[in-house]
């Protein structure tokens, strides 16, 4: 039985450490807003495509942070008739304080 010669392994002189890129977790942040529209309201045009629904005025809904500016900018027009002096509420949603 002949002796087989195995190639000699080179001594390890350097450790190469592979750096994996940090894992970026997509954290979905939401902001609570309050519906001001007195009846049922459905919003389908939000930037993220999320559909928001409020069954009645005063309902608090959690809105994707990417949609908040859009949601809060929604306004009813035109202005109220006959003596309201611009005091009528035209917004569909209001931010919650705090």
């Amino acid at each position: 039985m002949s002796e087989r010669e195995f190639p000699r392994r080179k001594p390890v002189t350097e450790v190469v450490r592979a750096e994996l890129p940090p894992v970026r977790k997509e954290v979905k942040r939401t902001v609570n807003v309050m519906a001001l529209f007195p009846d049922r309201l459905i919003i389908r045009n939000a930037p993220t495509g999320t559909v928001y629904e409020s069954p009645r005025g005063g309902t608090i809904i959690a809105v994707d942070s990417h949609d908040v500016d859009y949601i809060l900018s929604l306004q009813r027009g035109p202005a109220g008739c006959c003596g309201s002096a611009g005091q009528g509420e035209t917004r569909y949603f209001a931010p919650l304080e705090g």
């Binding site: 309050m34 519906a35 001001l36 529209f37 007195p38 009846d39 049922r40 309201l41 459905i42 919003i43 389908r44 045009n45 009645r56 005025g57 005063g58 009813r76 109220g80 008739c81 006959c82 003596g83 309201s84 009528g88 509420e89 209001a94």
Partner: protein, 207 residues
Amino acid sequence: MALLTGVPYGTITQQEELYLEGAPYIYYQDYAGPDLVDGDGFYYLLSGSATYPVFQLGCYEDVSLASDVTVNAIRCDNVGDKDVIQKLNHLELTLSISSLFPLSALRHILRAGVVTAATDTEKMGIGSISNSQYYKVYLPKVYDDDTGDLLLMQLHRAKFVDAWTIEMPSGDKWMVTGVKIWAFADDSKPAAQRFATVIRQDPSVLP
């Protein structure tokens, strides 16, 4: 001399040379909204919130407020009527309105269903009438804009009643006629304000 002028003796309260003109503003709110009471125990004014918003009627005409009273004379056939028994049944506010929108306000007047508002649309059905929906109705009339003198009335427990008609004439505006609001007795208020409260604010005349 009383005999010369016809003026009676004693304390006399004269009416003022002051006349009101035009309709008051008309606001209504769900009856479940908060009651506001002043330091003298009078219930009036509304405070709107997201849950219980205050609606303001827009353009309307032919406004009148009337009472419905049962009157039965105490008749004595030998001498005639000796007295009368009166009972206030309800107050009735009638008007015609030409502001139709938004539907979320009109639906209360028509007693229609809940409105669904979505992208570019408002939808509602006309089905059965809710008999458990009541409103507070607030009617302020500022009769002197400079001094802020005003007369206000508040109907505490009211309902839109009776049949309405939407007139759709050619060459003229659409109008909902036959709008009636009945103000019922509200047992949660003091007996003297059971149906309504009337407040006048006029610092130049009142003490």
